[in-house]
């Protein structure tokens, strides 16, 4: 196979093909096929209920927590099939981290929040933990704000700080992919700007997949954009193209705010 260096899509980290997902009998995702490029930011946009969060949650099998969910099709992470029931979900989730809409720091100290992923994996070496905390907090651009109060409760942080702690917590276990499910929807504009700046830095090391309601945000932070509507992938391509010259009339209507 010819490797096209100029086109990141030729080296995808995730390959989704023929993906159908049902809640009970009703389909939530229909025949989704797309490739997520490595070390790029991919945004999923679309109106509420279009299935973008559901799709995101397929990548780390968070849908397993719900009863009555049935998945057909294939999702390959670096060539490994992750929809198979035999897959070790625990190790998958170490490779695919997640940041949620509501920041959800644990009721523990900042330090313990960051090392949580390591501790449950059995790492208790003080030096490794200390290094990880510093690296992750620096990586999440919050080291300077919290370095003097690592033993304070993480519950005392502001919303934006808490969200960055959650990002630091996700990168502490060195995942390949970070999934972000509307990470800024509960934040004020200043905190949002900080997170967006952070996302730009993260893509040097990680693949980022972000679900967002905010079209400007998608345009600002992402390299690739997928537009979903009613459980179907309507259009997928480079963000520049989707936002300036979409192929599909639906996409154009949504982006220009004619519906949604």
């Amino acid at each position: 196979m010819d490797l096209d260096i100029t086109n990141p899509l030729s080296d995808p980290v995730l390959e989704i093909a023929g993906l159908n997902l049902y809640y009970g009998a009703s389909p939530a995702l229909r025949d989704i096929a797309l490739s997520i490029p490595r070390k790029q930011v991919t945004a999923f946009i679309g109106p509420s209920g279009c299935g973008k969060s559901t799709l995101l949650r397929c990548f780390n099998r968070m849908n397993d927590l719900l009863d009555n969910v049935r998945i057909e099709g294939s999702i390959k992470l670096d060539g490994d099939e992750i929809t198979s029931p035999a897959l070790d979900v625990i190790s998958l989730r170490r490779r695919v981290g997640m940041v949620f809409q509501q920041s959800n720091p644990f009721p523990k100290s900042i330090y313990e929040n960051i090392v949580y992923g390591l501790r449950i994996a059995g790492v208790n070496d003080k030096k490794t933990l200390d290094e990880t905390v510093e690296r992750s907090l620096k990586g999440a651009a919050i080291w300077d704000e919290v370095k003097d109060r690592l033993q304070d409760s993480a519950l005392g942080l502001s919303g934006g700080q808490a969200q960055r702690i959650c990002i630091a917590r996700a990168i502490a276990v060195n995942p390949e992919i970070i999934l972000m499910d509307e990470p800024c929807s509960a934040l004020d504009p200043i905190a949002t700007a900080k997170i967006e700046e952070l996302i730009n830095e993260l893509k040097d090391l990680y693949t980022v997949v972000i679900v967002t309601h905010n079209m400007q945000q998608a345009a600002r932070v992402s390299d690739y954009t997928a537009f979903l509507y009613l459980g179907e992938l309507v259009e997928y391509g480079e963000t520049k193209k989707i936002f300036t010259n979409p192929d599909n009339r639906h996409t154009e209507d949504y982006i220009t705010g004619r519906f949604g």
Binding site: I90, R93, N104, G159
Partner: protein, 532 residues
């Protein structure tokens, strides 16, 4: 008019009124208990009353009420001297009283038996005592009493040695019994060794017993002569006197220190006179011990059951039925639990243990009779639904986001439960524990069937191996209230004790709950999220 009702103003007033009525009732209840209980130990003055018919009585005013037929009052005097008059109390119409005086030399004796004695000291016989005769008979009596109480303590120490000895011989007897049960011929050597040791011990015991009897006989000799209001003489051995005091000469300070001494006795001493006098220590100890043991059983069981119901079991018909059953368990009359505990724990499991491990002692039961272990287990079943329900609520209140956050980092369900969910549910679990403890401390009916007794000779916790005797019967404040108040031969004299016991039980429940609530609030603070 319509808007008046719509705005809900009268409903607000109604709810406020309902709340205040409830609070008021609780306050009145506590108030009544406190007024009746707290005054019990205060040494009130003794009055010498001359009646119009020429007779006299000496006693403390214990109650007044409106006379039934006349306009005046009716006074109740605690006259004591049950052995002379047959009863401790006497009602007198106010119009029958000619004069009342408060003689300085009137003496009140607290005795080991037959209640208080009210009278005047005449003379003291110091037979066998070293204490010198002082200037006044009262001073002589005080010195003699001090010496007698010292002698009594020495005697009690000997008694303790004898008790230890007899429990050791009992252990030996049981060991011999066990050996001969498993094979008299095979263990012949060991049996004869133990038997000779036991006989040696018994011989030592007999020597001690003789000495003990001699000393206690000698202790009965020093006595004092008292006269009652009518001048009748009464010989009372000093050893029968617990306290002697002259309330009419005591100042407020002396009375307060007397009061403190009585409270100390209440909290730390054993009961006397079929529980109507003396202390409540064994009952306090039994209650606290039983509640703690109950918590040890009920808390883990309830939490584990709730975790399974809420986190692991698949929501469906069976889980719904189980949940309904758990909720209904909390409403089953407690005596039913008592009967169940008696049948299942005492006769079933306890009897089984006896047959398996102590067959040589049968038909005398060891575990096959009520005891603190079975009582705690019975109450644990009774309170476990409360723990389950509040733990489930606590688990449900943990935000979904936190579970997802933990799972998304690669934690297993169990790790998530252990590290995030359970710590956050602790305030809910503590609430369940508080309710369970309050309920358990107040239950009496089931306990009467599974191990509570009127008077337990030994505490469940002591210095002899294995230190914590879970098979022992125990005393309980709730049962004590019932027993003293309603089973006592001398109900009138026991009445204040009922209030005092009630007060203590309330205090224990409140203290335990406050402690748990304090811990819960501390945890809540730890897990409270700062608002954005």
């Amino acid at each position: 008019m319509g808007s008046f009702w719509k705005q809900g103003e009268p409903q607000v007033w109604g709810t406020a009124a309902a709340l205040s009525v409830t609070l008021l009732m609780v306050l009145v209840l506590v108030g009544v208990v406190m007024v009746n209980g707290l005054g019990f130990f205060w040494p009130s003055d003794t009055a010498l009353v001359a009646l119009t018919d020429g007779s006299k009585l000496l006693g403390q005013v214990s109650a007044t009420e409106k006379a039934t037929h006349a306009h005046g009052k009716r006074l109740q005097f605690k006259v004591g001297n049950r052995d002379l008059y047959g009863q401790d109390f006497r009602w007198v119409e106010e119009r029958d009283i000619r004069t009342i005086s408060w003689p300085h030399d009137s003496v009140v004796l607290e005795r080991k038996e037959n209640g208080n004695f009210h009278g005047f000291l005449k003379s003291v016989s110091l037979e066998g005592l070293a204490a010198p005769a002082a200037a006044s008979p009262w001073e002589t009596l005080r010195g003699a009493l001090k010496e007698v109480s010292g002698l009594r303590n020495t005697l009690a120490e000997t008694g303790q040695v004898m008790a230890d000895m007899s429990s050791e011989t009992e252990q030996l007897r049981l060991k011999i019994l066990k050996l001969s049960h498993s094979g008299a011929t095979a263990n012949r050597g060991e049996i004869s060794r133990l038997t000779s040791r036991r006989e040696k011990l018994l011989a030592q015991f007999d020597v001690l017993l003789e000495r003990f009897n001699e000393s206690s006989e000698a202790l009965e000799k020093p006595a004092a002569v008292f006269t009652d209001a009518a001048g009748e003489e009464k010989d009372i051995p000093l050893n029968a006197i617990v306290r002697a005091y002259r309330p009419n000469t005591m100042g407020v300070f002396a009375k307060a220190s007397f009061y403190a001494g009585k409270v100390r006795e209440l909290l730390l001493d054993e009961p006397r006179e079929s529980n109507t006098e003396g202390g409540l220590f064994p009952a306090i100890f039994g209650t606290v011990m039983m509640v703690l043991l109950m918590s040890v059983f009920s808390l883990p069981f309830g939490v584990v059951a709730a975790v399974y119901l809420r986190e692991y079991a698949r929501e469906g018909l069976i889980v719904r039925i189980v949940r309904i059953a758990v909720n209904n368990l909390a409403g089953v009359p407690s005596i039913v639990y008592g009967v169940f505990g008696l049948g299942f724990f005492v006769y079933g499991i306890g009897g089984g243990i006896d047959r398996l491990f102590y067959p040589e002692r049968l038909p005398t039961p060891t575990f096959g009779t009520g005891g603190i272990l079975w009582a705690s287990l019975t109450l644990a079943i009774l309170t476990v639904p409360v723990v389950i329900v509040s733990t489930e609520e606590g688990l449900a209140s943990v935000p979904k986001g936190l579970r997802e956050g933990s799972l998304s980092l690669g934690a297993t369900k169990f790790q998530t439960l252990k590290n995030v969910v359970l710590p956050m549910a602790t305030p809910g679990i503590m609430t369940g524990l508080i309710l369970a403890m309050a309920r358990a401390a107040g239950e009496v009916a089931p306990l009467m069937l599974v191990g509570v007794v009127k008077l337990a000779p030994t505490l469940p916790l002591d210095g002899t191996f294995p230190f914590f005797h879970v098979d022992r019967k125990f005393m309980h404040l709730g049962f004590h209230i019932y027993d003293v108040g309603f089973q006592s031969p001398n109900v009138e004299a026991a009445k204040p004790m009922v209030f005092v016991t009630t007060l203590l039980l309330l205090a224990i429940v409140i203290a335990a709950s406050s402690l748990a609530i304090h811990m819960r609030n501390k945890m809540k603070k730890r897990y409270a999220t700062k608002a954005f």
